[in-house]
Amino acid sequence: MLIALETLIGGLMLGALYALFGLGLSLSLGVMRMINIAHGDLIVLGAYLCSVVMQMFGIGPFLSLMLVVPLMFVIGMLLQSLLLNRVVGQGTLSPLLLTFGLSIVLQNFLQETFSADTRSLQAGDIALRGFDLGGVSIGLLPLLSTVVSVIIFAGTSWLINGSHLGRQARAVADDPATARLVGVDDRNFYALITGFILAVIAMAAVLYGIRTPFAPTSGPERLLYSFEAVVLGGLGNIWGTFIGGVVIGVAQLFGAKISSGLGPFFGHLVFLVALLARPEGLFRRIQR
């Protein structure tokens, strides 16, 4: 019983991280109507950037975010305005093809630059610390990543529902041509959104890179978890993505308890079953 509870809590916390992966995908789908196949590879890129910054300045992974988050924001803006803006609104196939190509390029670039070896981010003893809550042991790092994830989700949700930025985002998602008529420069706005997405990715990459090793080819797996979280939660629904991520995380940890190595398989299984039962996702597009 206690083990089940521990697994559940661990799954919730892992899921909160998957949700953070999914947030960017959810936003690009919701606002720009495009799926970025290179999403997972950008997560891995974020992790490598952290690793480089840590080595260069001899600092820890969290401190490295001070540099990596702004850096990823700029990379996102440039990526969108130089490349991705060419395919937004050009149907579904062109964005898929372009970002698929980008994914391959990124993987090869990472392999050339950092070799095919796996790496992980060393956070010192914080990664090992934890505490005991009524017999259930809770790791400090998973708890921290959960808190970060919830804060980022709450902030994003608030931005979308209650700010000028969010009104622009919803207007552009509804009808880009008319959004331009009320002064929203959709192309610049997309660049801003992708900058934001990559900044979030940077944080997720660090939190994940501390607990799980990564290699240049880890991207597609990250993409898959992100994608499952987004689709499970219902497309274009921010909190739905959060719940979707959590469901995948819990399923994976229970699967791993049954037999280590079955974790990801259980995540995919739950995704498949849930999708068959509710093809529109667990939550419809009710929330904005």
Partner: protein
């Protein structure tokens, strides 16, 4: 003064405007009439930059402003109320106005003033804009352009599909805006109404100006001929 100087406009390879010229002075109301597909909407889209033309194709107060984007033209004081209203369905009525007000210019038209002039709009301000009747939506669409405080307001078929009562409301709002010195370009299916509301008119046919002049002197037979191209 806002003008279009012998402009050709294209959608891809399809040419919609052929050497068309048009002008409107501050405070003036000009009607654009013409049958379906004549190019009226294209002309308005050309002015705001939704259809791109050469640099000297659009002139505002002696400056060439053709080829600039919609947000740039909005900042210069040119706003379009698009055909079919096109409110943002994911935004409430108030949010539709807030978005425009924030991106537009400062001036006499504010959200509180619009709410005051239209108590009904205040009532449904928190509803999604799609939950309104056609007439109410049109009022919001015009208000959304007005809160940008333009000098030139381009209205594309603002009475289309509305009840006669709603049409009167819509033109009521417009006449208040004109009272503030706003110049208005009126694209209107109802020729009689268009001529009654305007000082000058252009009749457009197959992307060219077929007839233009003072609305008061318009000869109905000539207008009908220019309109239908018979």
């Amino acid at each position: 003064m806002l003008s279009i100087e012998s402009v050709d406009a294209y959608y891809g390879l399809f040419q919609a405007l052929f050497g068309l010229s048009f002008s409107i002075s501050p405070g003036e109301t000009v009607a654009l009439i013409g049958s379906n597909g004549a190019g009226k909407s294209t002309l308005l889209k050309t002015i705001v930059g939704a259809v791109r033309v050469r640099r000297d194709g659009v002139r505002l107060d002696g400056r060439d402003v053709g080829g600039d984007t919609e947000p740039q033209q909005l900042a210069r004081g040119i706003a379009l109320v698009p055909e079919g209203r096109r409110l943002f369905g994911s935004l409430t009525v108030l949010e539709n106005l807030q978005l425009a007000a924030r991106n537009g210019r400062a001036g006499p038209w504010t959200i509180p003033r619009l709410m005051q002039e239209f108590p009904v709009m205040k009532e449904f301000q928190h509803r999604p804009s799609t939950a309104l009747s056609g007439g109410q939506q049109q009022l919001v669409a015009i208000s959304r352009a007005l809160v940008c405080n333009p000098n030139y307001l381009l209205c594309d078929e603002i009475s289309l599909g509305l009840s006669p009562l709603a049409v009167n409301d819509v033109y009521g709002l417009l006449s208040r805006a004109r009272g503030d010195g706003l110049a208005v370009v009126l694209v209107e299916q109802n020729v009689t109404r268009a001529l009654a509301e305007s000082g000058r008119f252009y009749c457009i046919q197959k992307g060219r100006v077929a007839l233009s002049g003072k609305s008061a002197d318009a000869d109905h037979a000539a207008v009908a001929q220019a309109y239908f191209g018979m």
